[in-house]
């Protein structure tokens, strides 16, 4: 009996007597020719999914509606460095020769702004409450990176473990993830150091390795298997497999940044008065860009939006940031009045107290906070400076 591998590409498919009349076995037939990628999109759409994938909008790669493989960012590279993101054209016919855009899957599951419930007041002063409608066509996203899958797992734990967030749960339930292993890390990437990439090992339905001539397809779920069965897969050569493995390994080796350790809980909370907090606060604008692009940041503010008529009102939430003044408002006083408090809150939470809350760091090494920081503050440098007590920028371990 053919089964999807529990851990994606690590296990692959078991050797099988193949009683199942399946055309696909990942042992020998998992090569998808480049021109057949459209079949994947069509198959997913045929199964009722709204398909999203990487496309260029506003000068950046974003997950947008994707119905034609020709809409993919063919030959594009992203150049990322602290405070800098640029797309550039290349000669390659490949579509995934970039690392990541400004947003992970977060906005598609945890909406940046949405209504939680409605209230209405009748003539006698009675108040009634009603759910916000969560209409959602199942989504399939093509081109998800390993770091973003790790972030998705963390958001799942936050919004689904214990009390379930209904809107997140509705969108997450049917999400179909087509990962593409990362072969082109950006200058700000450090997923190898956090253990979250560049190859995807779990959390996907299908995972693709991109080669010049097409894709190697790994299956990660029953749903993924049923889709893979619809694809015109061919025998992959040993050379193709080696090439795919090598590109992931090279992508890890090319990363220059890293965190000093995967668990900085004690190191950070042992340095709450380190002079570096004051120093980074001199540079930090407290703008919240880092928390907006961070794929694991979950803070959101609730707000009331009464209609002009006065008889109905919406209760909404929108993304909030621990860099905002209101985030720590407490009956007439601000718990974190200064930027140094806010940066310290962010870093000690992201790399420290996440371990208490979710058993791991809240950082997946995507590097977005470095790229999209207007002044180029580098989380790996700050963490290294504070945790290793070396105050100089650039000496990340």
């Amino acid at each position: 009996m053919l089964q999807p591998c529990a851990k994606g590409r690590q296990l692959r498919y078991p050797e099988s007597r193949d009683k199942d009349p399946v055309r696909v076995t990942m042992q020998d037939s998992n090569f998808l020719p480049r021109q057949a990628l459209q079949t994947l999109l069509d198959t997913l759409r045929g199964q009722g999914f709204r398909t999203l994938g990487p496309r260029v909008q506003d000068g950046a790669i974003q997950y947008l509606d994707l119905v034609d493989a020709g809409q993919l960012p063919s030959g594009l590279h992203d150049e990322q460095s602290p405070g800098c993101y640029r797309l550039s054209s290349g000669e390659s016919s490949r579509c995934f020769t970039w690392a990541i855009g400004p947003q992970a899957l977060k906005p598609h599951l945890f909406s940046a702004r949405e209504t939680l419930w409605h209230s209405a007041r009748d003539a006698s002063g009675g108040i009634s409450f009603s759910d916000a409608a969560i209409g959602q066509q199942p989504m399939a996203v093509i081109g998800v990176r390993a770091c973003d899958i790790a972030a998705l797992e963390l958001q799942d734990r936050h919004f689904l473990d214990g009390i379930r967030d209904p809107a997140y749960a509705a969108r997450r339930q049917d999400l179909f993830v087509v990962a593409v292993h990362c072969s082109h890390p950006a200058g700000t990437c450090f997923c190898a150091s956090t253990g979250d990439g560049p190859g995807a090992t779990r959390g996907f339905d299908l995972a693709l390795s991109e080669l010049d001539e097409g894709y190697l397809v790994d299956v990660g779920s029953e749903r993924g298997l049923s889709v893979a069965r619809q694809l015109p897969l061919q025998a992959a050569t040993a050379d193709q497999r080696r090439q795919a493995e090598r590109e992931i390994a090279d992508a890890a080796n090319r990363q220059e940044r890293g965190l000093p350790s995967r668990n900085l809980r004690e190191a950070l909370f042992g340095q709450l008065e380190h002079r570096r907090w004051d120093e980074v606060a001199e540079r930090c604008l407290s703008c919240g860009n880092c928390t907006s692009v961070c794929p694991t940041c979950f803070c959101h503010a609730e707000q009331e939006v009464p209609e002009l008529g006065g008889n109905t009102s919406q209760h909404i939430r929108e993304w909030d940031s621990c860099f905002s003044e209101g985030h720590s408002y407490l009956h007439g006083f601000i718990v974190r009045p200064e930027t140094r408090h806010r940066y310290r809150q962010w870093l000690t939470h992201k790399l420290g107290s996440w371990h208490e809350q979710y058993g791991r760091s809240g950082c997946v090494g995507c590097g977005r906070c470095i790229t999209w920081c207007p002044v180029g503050i580098d989380i790996t440098q700050e963490a290294s400076a504070i945790c290793t007590d070396e105050g100089l920028p650039g000496d990340s371990a």
Binding site: W117, D131, I163, F269, F298, H300, E304, V335
Partner: protein, 273 residues
């Protein structure tokens, strides 16, 4: 099931406690049962304005009335101050981990409060007085900035006359004729009769007051694990999702608001957390 959805409640009673503090007695209009534990809180919703977390003072013994004492400080609470009996608000809850009333059984209980910290603690006193045989000696210590801030005076007088109950009051600034202590509530520890090995303390008030109280009681022999505090942070969702109430790794809304001292000691009173 939408965990954020309030229920309608009618204001069935209102008391002006001080110029900016009022108590609302609420009754849920849906008739559905509602249970809470001492130290838990509700999210109260003012129509068209928003929600605020307010501790549950007490219910009036199965009458189905929920009591909340509110200080008018922000936009929502100032709006709530204008509500009258018969008007409706929204309510959801109860939320959080309350006071360790089970652990406190067969112990002498010391309740130390500051300012409006007395509100989340009244439920402790009510619970002990309702189940008097389960608990030992009860000490009630309350400190305020100014004697004008002291609400529930007649209540304190009443408690002070009960057997096996000690009431000690302190004010930083006292009106003429004040018979309590002038100064910090922690100075009252010198007048506190307690046996550390069979006592438990429950603290609620400003963070620095709770830190000083925890240290003061600990220095007098009370084990750190026998000291409990009710913490306060910005809370918007009350279920650990919105992120505002975090204090280190703790979500105050769902892991607390009541913590043992060792659980929060590292960051208690540290500016910025």
């Amino acid at each position: 099931m939408n965990p954020y959805l309030p229920r309608e409640a009618e204001i069935v009673g209102r008391t002006e406690e001080s110029p900016n503090t009022f108590t609302l007695e609420l009754r849920l209009t849906d008739g559905q049962p509602y249970d809470f534990a001492p130290g838990q809180f509700n999210m109260l919703y003012l129509y068209g304005s928003g929600e605020v977390p307010i501790s549950i003072v007490a219910d009036a013994e199965d009458s189905g009335v929920l009591t909340h004492t509110v200080r008018a400080l922000g936009r929502v609470t100032n709006g709530m101050a204008a509500l009258k009996v018969g008007e409706r608000i929204g309510l959801r809850g109860p939320y959080g981990r309350g006071w360790p009333m089970r652990e406190a059984q067969d112990h002498d209980v010391i309740v130390v409060t500051g300012g409006l910290g007395c509100a989340p603690s009244v439920s402790i006193i009510h619970h002990i007085l309702t189940h008097r045989e389960r608990y030992g000696h009860l000490s009630i210590l309350q400190g305020v900035k100014h004697t004008d801030d002291l609400i529930w005076r007649s209540q304190y007088d009443l408690w002070a006359k009960m057997p096996d109950v000690q009431v000690l009051l302190a004010a930083d600034v006292a009106e003429p004729g004040w018979h309590g202590h002038v100064g910090l509530v922690t100075a009252l520890f010198d007048h506190l009769q307690f046996e550390p090995s069979r006592s438990i303390a429950m603290l609620c008030g400003p963070e620095m007051m709770m830190r000083a109280s925890a240290e003061g009681l600990h220095n007098r022999g009370l084990a750190a694990e026998e000291i409990f505090l009710s913490m306060e942070r910005n809370m918007q969702c009350a279920v650990g999702h919105c992120g505002h109430c975090q204090m280190g790794g703790q979500f105050v809304c769902k892991d607390g608001p009541v913590f043992s001292w060792p659980e929060v000691r590292e960051l208690l009173g540290v500016r910025g957390f």
